[in-house]
């Protein structure tokens, strides 16, 4: 039987605030345990949560960036469950009236096809603390609780079940990741847990409109794990159904070491959250002025920039989507284009040599030792014929390792292209004279030997001879006599 996979994602992204969503404790990562957990985060009696304006502003920015309606009135609710990482016995979240309504994002698939994915909603909520399951705490039998993370603002972004393959799910997750960083609402740091993904996965016979029973895979913290966990889960569900069984609706965890998903053991009846409006918090009302202010400095969005790179600079979809993967990269590219007026050459260098070097050194574009101005300088020297394309790569490597800008590298390493025709004439004449046999062959009609001469000239000139001039002179010299 042909099966169709249906995937929806819930993405928790940590909002880039200084303080927590309902308290004045710091959100900085990596502090000693419980030094950033104040009375409100601990859920001590008598405390009152007060909403952080910046968390609201960042949520509004996201809503506007996906073309969603920002709710003029939204309500915080208590999601009740007992777990020591949330001492209050409930998580403050939003339920019936979330701050961000329906929106859409576009993903670019492997074959450059564009697919639109629906976002159902996005709501504000507080993060829980961390449980540390270490063996020897107080002699064993205990779990350690660090509540520094409790109360950190999260935006939970819920998608429609619009994805049909693990690859689409990854493309969507990457898209949201790109977007939250682009508009400056989250650092998106996956190692530090600032961007976590839950995947709802089900399968159904191809052509059936009713959804199959879904399972939820929790806390996927890398794009590779998202793809592998969904892949495993799809195969598992198909095996269950084809073996005559039924899929049980449950929460599962992905184990990267064994590359499999397993049911979570605890939180029985966990789905009975008994939401109700939190009496500690009043309804949040957002007026037009607040929204206008929140989006005033919203940059050009990646989709629109990708489209513009395509139309304005004549770049292919693929190049354009690579260049808009991050805002710093896109800005770098545009700076090079502005200085050189050579968008295609600039795209080739940024997506080629520069991207490879950044990858090799595992650094971000912002810390590239070759600045946009330096790359533009190199492209100028390619344009005016000072260096050949091949030698330009050497110049780039030298710039990368800190040998200065293009002009100083070309000067210091003597990489200037030989364009003096007198010098080239002499060099070619000597080579022709030294290889009478090949000259004979060429004149007898063996055109391929021409390449041999070009090779010799390049070898003698250490790659510095201007190839076009070499061709012209060689043609002339070999044709004469």
């Amino acid at each position: 039987m042909q099966w169709e996979t249906v995937i929806g994602l819930e993405i928790h992204t940590q909002l880039a605030t200084q303080s927590k969503i309902f308290s004045g404790a710091s959100t900085a990562f990596g502090a000693p345990p419980n030094t950033q957990a104040c009375a409100i985060d601990l859920g001590l009696p008598g405390v009152l949560p007060v909403l952080n304006a910046e968390a609201v502003r960042l949520a509004v920015r996201f809503g506007k960036a996906i073309g969603a309606e920002v709710a003029p009135r939204s309500v915080f609710a208590r999601k009740n469950y007992f777990y020591p990482d949330l001492p209050k016995g409930y998580q403050i979240s939003q339920y019936e009236l979330p701050i961000v309504g329906e929106g859409r994002v576009e993903i670019v698939l492997g074959d450059a096809a564009v697919k639109s994915i629906g976002v159902t909603r996005a709501h504000l909520e507080e993060d829980a603390g961390k449980s540390l399951h270490e063996e020897n705490l107080a002699g064993g039998g205990y779990t350690g609780i660090d509540l520094n993370r409790a109360g950190t603002p999260l935006l939970e972004i819920v998608s429609e079940p619009d994805m049909r393959t693990p690859q689409e799910a990854v493309a969507y997750a990457r898209k949201i990741h790109q977007l939250v960083r682009w508009i400056g609402i989250s650092d998106g740091n996956m190692q530090e847990g600032s961007f976590r993904v839950d995947a709802n996965v089900s399968v159904r016979p191809l052509g059936q409109t009713r959804f199959g029973t879904r399972t939820e895979i929790k806390n996927l913290n890398s794009f590779r794990f998202i793809e592998r966990a969904i892949q495993f889960e799809v195969e598992r569900q198909i095996d269950v159904i084809e073996g005559g069984g039924t899929v049980v609706q449950e929460t599962r965890l992905y184990d990267p070491e064994r590359d499999e998903t397993r049911p979570m053991r605890s939180k029985e009846e966990a789905n009975d959250y008994r939401y109700f409006p939190d009496p500690d918090l009043l309804p949040v009302e957002i007026d037009v002025a607040f929204i206008v202010d929140a989006v005033a400095d919203l940059p050009e969005l990646p989709d629109s920039m990708r489209e513009r790179f395509h139309t304005q600079y004549g770049l292919g979809e693929y190049d354009a989507s690579l260049l808009t993967a991050g805002r710093e990269l896109a800005q770098y590219f545009e700076a090079v284009v502005q200085a050189t007026a050579e968008p295609k050459l600039a795209a080739n260098w940024v997506n080629g040599e520069l991207a490879a070097a950044l990858n090799r050194s595992e650094i971000e574009i912002a810390r590239s030792p070759v600045s946009a101005a330096m790359l533009a300088g190199l492209i100028h020297r390619i344009q005016d014929g000072t260096v050949s394309g091949k030698l330009a790569k050497q110049v780039f490597e030298a710039m990368w390792s800190g040998e200065g800008d293009a002009d100083s590298v070309i000067q210091a390493r003597g990489l200037r292209q030989i364009t003096d025709s007198g010098e080239l004439e002499a060099l070619i004449a000597a080579i022709v004279a030294a290889n009478p046999g090949q000259v004979e062959q060429y004149r007898a009609g063996k055109d391929k030997v021409f390449g041999f001469f070009v090779g010799q000239v390049m070898k003698e000139s250490k790659g510095k001879a201007n190839p076009q001039q070499v061709n012209e002179i060689l043609m002339r010299v070999l044709a004469s006599d």
Binding site: A53, L97, S131, H133, G141, S266, D272, P277, P283
Partner: protein, 95 residues
């Protein structure tokens, strides 16, 4: 609406409340009465009345994003039953 013993057991479990078996019947009766009262209110015609999320006719005041709370771990942990290395300790939980 009337709740039976198993409803009470479930509600108590969700709220992590221990209820003596002999009081279950009384809770069932009391809670059922409350639900009946709600049903009575449900019957009132509320056409044109805006649903209320909070009894106060005000909206949420927003707080500027500033760190104003500093480390008072020692004070807070003084009342905790068990701590080690700055962590609060609880009986072992499994994900």
């Amino acid at each position: 609406m009337s709740l039976d013993a198993s409803d009470i057991e479930k509600i108590a479990h969700l709220a992590r409340l221990e209820i003596a078996p002999e009081s279950i019947e009384r809770y069932a009766a009391d809670l059922s009465n409350i639900l009946d009262l709600v049903a009575q209110m449900d019957a009132v015609d509320t056409t044109g009345v805006e649903p209320m999320a909070h009894p106060l006719h005000m909206s949420q005041r927003l707080r500027p994003d500033r760190v104003s709370e500093h480390d008072r771990r020692e004070l807070f942990q003084a009342i905790a039953p068990l701590t080690e290395d700055g962590l609060y300790l609880v009986p072992k939980v499994i994900d």
